[in-house]
């Protein structure tokens, strides 16, 4: 079956512009997570969804970041008024449910470059 897909794979934008990143999780996976990886660093948690609700948004760096999930499938991460420090690879993961044993499967990521 298909894995987690993300689009676009690469995005170059100018400082101050808004960007929208998309994640298509594995069909039937109820949990969806967003992470980002800055150059040379580990992955940092941004937000997760259980179904369509987001119980934990604690990792979102500022109010310029928002995410939504509709129909328990596709999720979009929106960054408004992008800044150069937003440049990173944004990774999406999904899992069948919550709890140990529900491994997270990652997409290939979207590389965002803010000029």
């Amino acid at each position: 079956g298909a894995g987690v897909s993300q689009s676009p794979s690469n995005k170059v934008t100018e400082k101050g512009k808004d960007v929208e990143l998309r994640c298509d999780p594995i069909s039937g996976h109820t949990a969806l997570y967003w992470y980002r990886q800055r150059l040379g660093q580990g992955l940092e948690f941004l937000i997760y969804f259980q179904g369509n609700s987001a119980p934990d948004k604690s990792g979102l760096p500022s109010d310029r970041f928002s995410a939504e999930r509709t129909g328990e499938s596709v999720s979009t991460l929106t960054i408004q008024r992008t800044q150069q420090e937003d440049s990173a690879v944004y990774l999406c993961a999904s899992s069948l449910g919550l709890g140990p044993g529900n491994e997270q499967f990652f997409g290939p990521g979207t590389r965002l470059t803010v000029l």
Binding site: G42, D56, P108
Partner: protein, 113 residues
């Protein structure tokens, strides 16, 4: 505040020998630990995990050891193969936090033929 740390940014090992990757954590609430492998331009792929009620879990060439008192875990790869060359991330989670993963900074492994 780095709750999960991988103190070795890189590791070089000869094919056929053992690779040992280390990871330390500070948050005592973590009850599930995972190792992910990442190739360039790809998302991380799950390798192996261990629950805090165990001290060892083995899957083929990969074994993870957990020392809760020391808040330390390690991944052993035996024997190492050139295809194992990648960046390895240690991650930790706990159920009350929705199993969101807290990652270490990664260790780049190079297996020389």
């Amino acid at each position: 505040d780095q709750q999960v740390k991988q103190n070795s940014p890189s590791l070089s090992v000869q094919e056929g020998r053992i690779s040992i990757l280390n990871c330390d954590y500070t948050n005592s609430m973590f009850d599930y630990f995972l190792w992910y492998k990442k190739y360039p331009a790809e998302g991380p792929t799950f390798l192996i995990s261990i629950s805090s009620i165990k001290d060892k879990n083995e899957d083929g060439r990969f074994t993870v050891f957990l020392n809760k008192s020391a808040k330390h875990l390690s991944l052993h790869i035996v024997p190492s193969q050139p295809g194992d060359s990648a960046v390895y991330f240690c991650a930790a989670s706990y159920k009350a936090a929705g199993n969101k993963l807290t990652f270490g900074g990664g260790t780049r492994v190079l297996v020389k033929p």
